[in-house]
């Protein structure tokens, strides 16, 4: 297992380098620059040139990339140009909020998704199956921006159960977590349902039935256990996706977090900060994938044997 984990971890290094290059180039090739936010309209061309030189923006892109990568390798994400604070500090201040939101959304979507998937598979092709799966699918197709506003209007304005926005109390987490969570619920429910149905048709299930085990005992103790393998892969991918997918939701709910920080930084073309945020999101996706693989390998010895042998 350890060999498998080390092998998978090593595979992340070239991916990380490629991702860092893509991020850097995209950020710098998009029109606009942070000087818009550093130079007053009335400033002279000399002052503008001073600013450009001060932040090294007059250097060739590859030189700038090399400098940034060297810093990142040394654990320094640099200083935000417009916000004038260390990028690492800004990320550290915002990351806990994103993790709380992403974690709550993941718990919600996983719990509801698996329960719904199991029930839908157990009552396959029934009215319940069609209605619930259809409803979940509909929810997942709503744009998160729109769904967020609907949530606010219904549960904050109409019923007054939760605050409209912010992060000043625990209950402010509920609506944004639901908004993000609903999107993932459909995916997890569908994967769970499909895996349950496929596994329920295998021979060992018929043996268990012949032994006289109850339907729910077979479903929950034997079928679900194996059906969770593909769900683990999905969950691994979702960890990174949820952090990135929270961008619009954090914005609408005016919550601190990586998403809000990224939007502000993008608007200001604050290169080091945008790069830092995107790198964090990319790392989250990579680590999520790694965790999914490790969890799968832990549940299925055949997988780690196959990977370890290669």
């Amino acid at each position: 297992m350890l060999r498998f984990a080390i092998r998978r971890l090593a595979m992340l290094v070239p991916v990380f380098l490629a991702v860092s290059l893509v991020i850097f180039m995209i950020v710098h090739l998009v029109p606009g620059d942070p000087l818009e936010h550093l130079i007053q309209v009335g400033s002279s061309p000399e002052q503008q040139a001073q600013m450009i030189a001060r932040y090294g923006l007059d250097q060739p892109l590859l030189v700038q990339y090399g400098r940034w990568l060297a810093k990142v390798a040394g654990g320094d994400l640099g200083d935000a140009i417009v916000m004038r604070q260390p990028v690492a500090r800004l990320i550290a201040e915002n990351l806990p909020h994103s993790l709380a939101l992403g974690g709550a959304a993941l718990v919600f979507s996983t719990t509801v998704g698996i329960v719904t998937g199991v029930l839908a598979a157990s009552f396959r092709d029934s009215l319940f199956d069609r209605v619930v799966m259809g409803f979940i699918l509909l929810g997942s197709t709503l744009p998160s921006f729109w769904l967020a506003l609907l949530m606010i209007l219904a549960f904050a304005v109409q019923f007054e159960w939760f605050p409209v926005s912010g992060a000043r109390s625990w209950d402010a987490l509920v609506l944004p977590a639901l908004t993000i969570g609903i999107g993932g619920t459909a995916l997890i429910a569908r994967v769970t349902r499909a895996a349950m149905i496929e596994i329920a048709g295998r021979d060992f299930v018929r043996v268990l039935q012949a032994k006289g085990l109850s339907f729910w005992r077979i479903q929950l103790r034997h079928v679900l256990q194996q059906a969770l393998l593909p769900v683990m892969t999905i969950l691994g991918l979702r960890i990174g996706w949820i952090l990135g997918g929270a961008v619009t939701v954090e914005y609408v709910f005016a919550r601190p977090g990586l998403g809000s920080l990224l939007i502000t930084a993008l608007g200001q073309r604050d290169y080091p900060l945008v790069q830092g945020c995107l790198l964090m999101l990319a790392i989250a996706v990579m680590l999520g994938t790694l965790l999914g693989d490790l969890a799968q390998a832990a549940l299925d010895p055949r997988l780690r044997e196959t990977m370890g042998a290669r």
Binding site: V30, P31, G32, D33, E36, H37, L38, I39, Q40, V41, G42, S43, S44, Q47, Q50, A80, V82, M83, R84, Q85, L90, E93, L149, I152, L153, A156, V157, E160, P163, V164, S165, G166, Y251, V252, F253, A254, P256, S260, L261, I263, T264, L266, G267, Q268, R269
Partner: protein
């Protein structure tokens, strides 16, 4: 038992009263749209400051809505007849939040800090500052600058505490911000919120405020909510007490909402359409004039803004004296004049109504930045131009990159833009040849305009002379049609039932002069 019950009820009642009183002493203000995202409260180095800035810091002088100037940290001032010296008397007993005194030495230290900074242009005309005595300071000028008071009244001219400023370096305004204002900064989280606590020693408010003592609220939280709908819903549900800047789109909705009150006051913004004078067909002044007169400002005001605000017919906001140009220079919708000018320029109507000249259709590029209001506006302008035979092809460009596009001096032809400024020198900023591309999006380069610009910017000795010179420069620019004026928005704020607003908004917007008079509602 009965006594115990009574006692408990009394205690509960007192606790509730105390909680209510504490809540009444706190208020949450919400900033949205362009007020969101100010990265620092360092007035010297910031290019963007928000509403809370003037509560943390004071300025020497402040400006009222009628453009008059009033002392804040200065009690009086006087300019020498040749305009080469300005002497300010300072108020006694003023202290910074950290207990350090504010005096003439502070001002003598402060002005040189601008050298090489983002806001260096504000003190460009000042040669040196002399501390005459503890409460008298004299500015020695490189050349007369009748605009000095305007610059000193700017938020960028808020005065920080020297020791803290030097000790904190770039962190000043981010981790700590120490001024002499009616509130101290307790916490600042960029893009999220700023928490201010009352400066109980405050006793040097500008004459614009009725309240000359400490502020009425013990604690103020300024939340930044980028999404305008969320900001409005926070106010509606009582999560916020005041919405500092109501987006124009939301005015009708707020007017119809009985839960909130709306205050509108003259704006300091102007929406306009620059015309790129360096590319065809706009190198022809007749085409520019025709285009400018094709824009129906009244229709835009009524249909897009519900009648809130005013039409623009010059390049300056109406409250400026330099906006009072002769009627013949004003640009107001006149479709017949537009059509006649197009004909004179050789552009004849084609079979589909779009004009044609030498086999070429009158098709132009119309740019604007993303944002609901700009998108709607650009579509209306497109329809209005089509009505006189010009086909405008719209491009919506990300707000963060559109200025960089202009700076490349591209072949954009028309654009919809807005500026927020309360001084006639905006004509220099947006039409001086040296700034072609951006901010001179019109790529205007005219020798006579440059001559008049030089006189207005550098040769004016007194305020009245400056007004006359800028009026002349403004009139000339208007006569060359490098833009079409469109709209002047109002400033508006909305507040809930926990707030009592003063009768009048003093100053150029919602600044400390008014905020000192905002009180908890009884």
């Amino acid at each position: 038992m009965k006594t115990m019950l009574k006692g408990s009820m009394l205690a509960l009642g007192l606790t509730a009263l105390a909680a209510t009183t504490a809540l009444a002493q706190e208020a949450t203000f919400v900033m949205t749209a362009r007020l969101v995202g100010a990265p620092t409260y360092n007035p010297i180095k910031a290019t963007k400051l928000n509403t809370a800035t003037t509560l943390i810091f004071d300025r020497l002088v402040v400006q009222d809505a009628d453009q008059s100037f009033h002392g804040q940290l200065a009690s009086s001032w006087e300019a020498s007849p040749d305009g080469m010296q300005w002497t300010f008397k300072l108020k006694p007993g003023v202290k910074f939040h950290n207990g350090e005194p504010f005096n003439a030495k502070t001002v003598a230290w402060w002005v040189p800090q601008f050298k090489g900074s983002e806001n260096a242009f504000t003190v460009e005309a000042i040669e040196r500052v002399e501390a005459v005595d503890d409460l008298t300071v004299r500015f020695h000028m490189k050349h007369p600058d009748p605009n000095l008071l305007f610059n000193l009244a700017s938020s960028f001219m808020c005065i920080p505490e020297p020791k803290a400023y030097e000790a904190l370096g770039d962190k000043f305004g981010v981790t700590e911000a120490i001024g002499t204002g009616p509130y101290r900064m307790q916490q600042f989280s960029v893009g999220q919120q700023t928490v201010l606590v009352r400066n109980d020693d405050y006793a040097w408010a500008a004459g614009l405020s009725t309240n000359q003592g400490p502020a009425k609220f013990k604690k103020l939280t300024f939340r930044e909510i980028g999404e305008e709908s969320t900001a409005y819903l926070e106010l509606k549900t009582g999560g916020a007490d005041l919405l500092v800047n109501v987006p124009t789109d939301f005015l009708p909705r707020i007017q119809a909402d009985k839960a909130v009150k709306l205050v509108t006051f003259p704006g300091n913004e102007l929406v306009y359409m620059p015309i790129n004078t360096s590319v065809e067909p706009f190198t022809d002044i007749k085409v520019r004039e025709a285009t400018a007169f094709a824009v129906n400002q009244k229709e835009i005001l009524a249909s897009l803004y519900g009648g809130n605000g005013a039409v623009a017919d010059t390049f300056l906001i109406s409250s400026l004296k330099e906006a009072q140009v002769e009627p013949k220079f004003r640009i107001a919708y006149d479709p017949e004049r537009a059509k006649k000018l197009f004909e004179e320029a050789g552009w004849k109507p084609g079979p589909d109504g779009i004009r044609v000249k030498d086999g070429k259709r009158l098709t132009v590029k119309l740019w604007t930045q993303n944002g609901t209001e700009f998108k709607r506006l650009v579509e209306i302008v497109q329809a209005q131009l089509k009505a006189v035979g010009m086909q405008a092809e719209i491009s919506i460009i990300d707000a963060g990159s559109i200025n960089a596009q202009y700076r490349k001096k591209t072949d954009h032809q028309l654009a919809i833009r807005a500026y927020q400024w309360t001084n006639a020198d905006i004509v220099d900023w947006f039409f001086a040849a040296k700034r072609a591309g951006y901010p001179n999006v019109s790529m205007f380069n005219d020798p006579e305009a440059e001559r008049l610009n030089d006189i207005a910017m550098n040769k004016s000795k007194t305020w009245d002379e400056r007004v006359a010179n800028f009026t002349r420069y403004h009139e000339y620019v208007l006569s060359q049609y490098p833009f079409a004026p469109i709209y002047q928005p109002v400033q508006s704020l909305a507040y809930g039932k926990r707030i009592a607003m003063p009768d009048k908004i003093r100053g150029m917007g919602l600044y400390s002069s008014t905020m000192l008079d905002i009180a908890p509602a009884n």
